[in-house]
């Protein structure tokens, strides 16, 4: 028996020593870049008001990027990665940030909270000065304590209100929260489409479920109650039970909060069941990968609430971005590509002005007013939310036609 | 209570197959009884019914005057029935001693919390179990092998360990399913001595066996089954000369000849 344990001990020792060199590698790599950040960290705790440039100029300025690059939300993560890399490339082509090249530290979160925490720690071991998260709310919430502990200015692309309600001053969101989007959707449904009996169809996962009560309270503002609320897990493929329930409730508009593939199937199955009720959805139908898969019949009567439609812009700068993104990826940029692009550019701008001090970057972000990005004009409120524009797009023609915009 | 074990109209069917026809069986305390019969006669079925592995289709089993007809095997064991198997399945990961200790574990009372905190009473109990197991191993003459891994022993010795396991919890009735199978001649005659010593401890023995020399040698009485029917019962001399028995064996041309 003792031998057995001895063997186990030896192997354990081997395993631990196997990670030993990796650790060493880590520390030797860290040494040159460690000093400035540590300096910055101590300064930030003292809450210095005057931003000081770090004593030594680092080789690169590192921005962490954690997104679901594999598993269920890989499509979203892919767009985000493309947008961020495009921005970084443009910045470096133009000579970097004050002459220092920008480096993105990209890690996958496998769409689970445990891996997300590993990913952020992995990123942190490279000493980044800022972080961009393209994760779902559950993963972001799991990472928030670490962000707070490391006082790392972080831009998230999540729209769940809980993300910015944690009282974490280091988290900035580039999108309006779901409350804002839901209110805009309800407003459009009731005021423009004349809805009287509203049905709600949401994804059974966190992002859909948390929106349902917000929509219901927004409806209450108009003295309405939802005629039916149904949900479906994103792994589900057949929605006829839900749709027939909505049909039985005789709804005149359906508010939809789902992921891309379910969105397409939903639109298709509605038509297959002979339902032509108008749909007002979350940004899902603003994604180019979704539109190309839908037939004209399926597109009819569908509206999507989206943060921005870069391809429909008349602004030259935005069109240039659309072109560059197309050249890079072969697809039109969607909301997530644009937000991610903006996040990198925004960090770069702020760092150019205030340097790499973490507290200074935080202050810099709070000071941003009307910063023009390709998706929004950003100004962050006390909670760290920015980018309060929501456009309603009509996709009936297969392109995104903006039919209304709500701003704050 | 004149009989330690009694069955009344005990029968077992598998689907439509009668493995055991209604069977009345009685065995007195202190007896060594052999149950013989050609392959498929229903002997092992009968043992399985007695030890609770099978539930009878009909009939009763009384052990020391108590109904044990639909009782689970481990309860039957605890009531005082020991059992060995035709093919030994030793617990390969365990040592010889532990294999035997297992048979006495049903007598242990200290629960899991005692074990977690290694209480002195739990330790004492474990010691007692070990002592019992060593005694049983000594009884079958295997004490010197106690720390071996059981699968490293020859087959005959594994059977002896199995016997010790069946004996360790002090049963009143011991069921032996072909105890001599796979044993050498020497081991077989040792076994006969061993079975007699078991009886001398006051344990009733019921054995199913193909080795006729051993059966004739050791048993007080013999019961013969064929196709689920009882065909004869009596002392070895009677059975040896019973024409029905001879026919059952020789007529079937089985390998087991009566000598």
């Amino acid at each position: 028996m003792h031998k057995k344990i001895l063997i186990a001990a030896l192997i354990l020792g081997m395993v631990l020593t196997a990670c030993g060199p990796a650790v060493q590698e880590q520390t030797t790599q860290e040494i040159p870049t460690e000093q400035p950040t540590q300096l910055a960290a101590t300064e930030s705790t003292q809450a210095t008001t005057e931003p000081t440039q770090a004593a030594t100029v680092p080789d690169t300025i590192k921005i962490g990027f954690v997104a679901p690059l594999t598993t269920a939300n890989a499509l979203m993560g892919w767009s985000m990665q493309q947008g961020a890399q495009l921005a970084a490339q443009e910045i470096n082509d133009a000579g970097g940030i004050n002459g220092v090249p920008l480096e993105l530290i990209i890690e996958d979160n496998s769409n689970t909270a445990d891996v997300a925490v590993n990913a952020i720690n992995r990123v942190l071991s490279e000493n980044p000065v800022a972080l961009i998260l393209g994760s779902t709310s559950a993963q972001t919430l799991a990472m928030e304590p670490i962000i707070l502990e490391n006082t790392l200015p972080t831009i998230i692309m999540g729209s769940s209100p809980s993300l910015t309600d944690q009282g974490n001053p280091w988290v900035f969101a580039t999108r309006a929260d779901d409350g804002f989007a839901a209110t805009a959707a309800v407003k459009f449904a009731v005021e423009d489409l004349g809805a009287k009996k509203v049905g709600i169809f949401h994804a059974a996962e966190e992002f859909g479920t948390s929106v349902a009560p917000i929509i219901i309270s927004a409806l209450a503002e108009y003295g309405l109650e939802p005629a039916a609320v149904v949900s479906a897990p994103s792994t589900d493929k057949d929605y006829s039970a839900q749709l027939l329930e909505l049909q039985a409730a005789d709804v005149d508009v359906i508010l939809v909060w789902v992921l891309p593939a379910p969105g397409i199937l939903l639109a298709r199955q509605m038509k297959q069941l002979g339902m032509d009720t108008p749909v007002v959805a979350n940004p899902v139908f603003g994604l180019s990968q979704v539109l190309v898969l839908m037939t004209p019949e399926e597109l009819a009567g569908i509206y999507s609430m989206t943060d921005c439609v870069p391809s429909q812009s008349t602004d030259e700068k935005i069109l240039a971005f659309v072109q560059a993104y197309k050249d890079r990826t072969g697809t039109t940029p969607d909301l997530f590509g644009a937000l991610s692009y903006d996040s990198v550019k925004l960090f770069a701008d702020v760092i150019t002005q205030v340097g790499t001090d973490l507290a200074a970057i935080q202050a810099g972000l709070f000071a941003v007013t009307g910063w023009p990005g390709v998706c929004h004009n950003y100004s962050f409120d006390a909670k760290g939310r920015g980018g309060y524009d929501i456009s309603t797009v009509d996709i009936s023609t297969g392109t995104l036609k903006v039919v209304g915009t709500v701003s704050k | 209570m004149t009989f330690i074990l009694e069955t009344r109209q005990l029968c077992k069917q598998f689907g439509g197959v009668h493995a055991l026809r209604p069977f009345d069986f009685k065995i007195s305390p202190g007896e060594i009884r052999a149950l013989i019969g050609p392959n498929g006669a229903g002997k092992t079925t009968f043992l399985n019914l007695l030890s609770g592995i099978y539930t009878p289709t009909d009939g009763d089993i009384l052990f020391k005057g108590q109904q044990i007809t639909k009782i689970k095997p481990h309860v039957v064991t605890r009531l005082g029935v020991g059992r060995t198997f035709q093919t030994v399945k030793p617990f390969g990961k365990l040592s010889v001693l532990e294999n035997v200790m297992l048979g006495y574990d049903c007598r242990a009372e200290k629960g899991i919390f005692h074990i977690l905190i290694k209480s002195s009473s739990a330790k004492q109990e474990e010691e007692e179990t070990k002592e019992k197991a060593r005694k049983a191993l000594g009884f079958v003459g295997m004490l010197d092998k106690q720390n071996m891994i059981i699968t490293s022993l020859p087959y005959g010795q594994q059977r002896l360990v199995d016997l010790a396991r069946a004996l360790v919890h002090d049963p009143d009735l011991l069921l032996l399913d072909e105890p001599a199978a796979g044993m050498t001649r020497q081991e077989g005659s040792d076994l006969v001595a061993c079975i007699r010593r078991i009886r001398d401890l006051g344990i009733t023995v019921l054995l199913v066996e193909h080795n006729m020399r051993l059966v004739m040698d050791v048993s007080d009485r013999i019961t013969v089954l064929d196709f689920g029917y009882l065909i004869a019962e009596g002392i070895p001399e009677e059975i040896r000369s019973n024409p029905k028995v001879i026919e059952a064996y020789l007529g079937k041309k089985t390998n087991d000849a009566i000598n």
Binding site: T71, W78, A232, T235, A241, E245 | -
Partner: protein, 290 residues
């Protein structure tokens, strides 16, 4: 009433899909006593093969042929590289290996074809047929017909042909089968190829309905498991009955109880069946091997 009929029709379609996926691992289970956790990924892989076939310019018919051929080869490779080295090992070791394969295939597909959903055409138009007020997709009828045909063929193969008897023998006891002169390895390889082809058929049939996505197989895998257990594990008729039963129960439950618990319905039914009639509706049980 009309809605009820509509629900049942749609439930039956989903049921066919559960049954189709269940059929493959019922076969594998019968022959080698292992649950194949990569079954969903086989279905997905077939659909992506189909997309590739269309994109290189094959017509739909030839795309079908291409996919079935590719899946047959893949099934053989799967058996040769994954199952064969592990044969005779405890079933749980092989299960872990199939889990590994499912991770590999998921990520391989993501790297090759990207994370975006893709389209695979159908022989039929998307226009539903109106049959007495109930709307039915031509593709769904096609799925139903093919499912019934495949089930009948597999049933006949298993129960009426020599190959089927050999498979039965291998399933019951591979050692004895070997002694009887059956080339066990060949039979096993054949079963894997057949399984792979069935998964391929499922993938081709589902792709036009479900879109081609990375999770198209795995997302219904657990339901298919449940379906096969409900029907009676290891039984071919059980798989289709279990699948159809589950499809209908699930859709009715989602409609008349609550859609918020739709995913749980399958598992509640599964637990109830296991606890009340553990042998399933078609109590044909293959001996457990461990």
């Amino acid at each position: 009433m009309q809605q009820l009929t509509q629900l049942i029709v749609n439930g039956l379609t989903m049921g066919c899909i559960y049954a189709l996926i269940a059929l493959g691992f019922v076969l594998i289970y019968r022959t080698v006593g292992v649950i194949n956790f990569a079954q969903g990924e086989l279905v997905m892989l077939a659909a992506y093969f189909g997309v590739t076939a269309i994109s290189i310019g094959l017509s739909l018919i030839w795309a079908y042929v291409f996919v079935i051929a590719a899946m047959a080869i893949f099934g053989y490779l799967f058996q040769w590289m994954i199952y064969y080295p592990l044969r005779g090992k405890p079933f749980i070791t092989i299960i872990i290996s199939t889990i590994g394969v499912s991770i590999i295939l998921q990520n391989l597909a993501r790297i090759i074809w990207g994370p975006a959903p893709l389209m695979f055409p159908s022989f039929f138009s998307l226009k539903p047929l109106n049959i007495g007020g109930v709307l039915v997709q031509p593709q769904n009828i096609f799925v139903f017909v093919v499912t019934v045909v495949l089930f009948s063929l597999v049933y006949l193969l298993l129960s009426k042909t020599m190959i089927g008897h050999k498979m039965q023998a291998v399933a019951q006891d591979p050692e004895t089968a070997k002694l009887m002169g059956i080339k066990v390895d060949q039979v096993v390889a054949g079963v894997f190829v057949l399984n792979s082809i069935l998964a391929g058929a499922a993938g081709l049939l589902l792709a036009p309905i479900f879109l081609v996505t990375l999770d198209m197989g795995s997302s219904v895998l657990m339901k298919s498991f449940s379906a096969s257990i409900i029907g009676g594990f290891g039984s071919v008729p059980g798989a289709i009955v279990g699948g159809l039963f589950l499809g209908v129960v699930e859709i009715l439950g989602a409609r008349y109880i609550s859609s918020h618990f739709k995913d749980g319905i399958a598992f509640v039914v599964l637990l109830l069946v296991l606890l009340i009639i553990p042998k399933g509706l078609f109590g044909e049980r293959v001996n457990e091997r461990s």
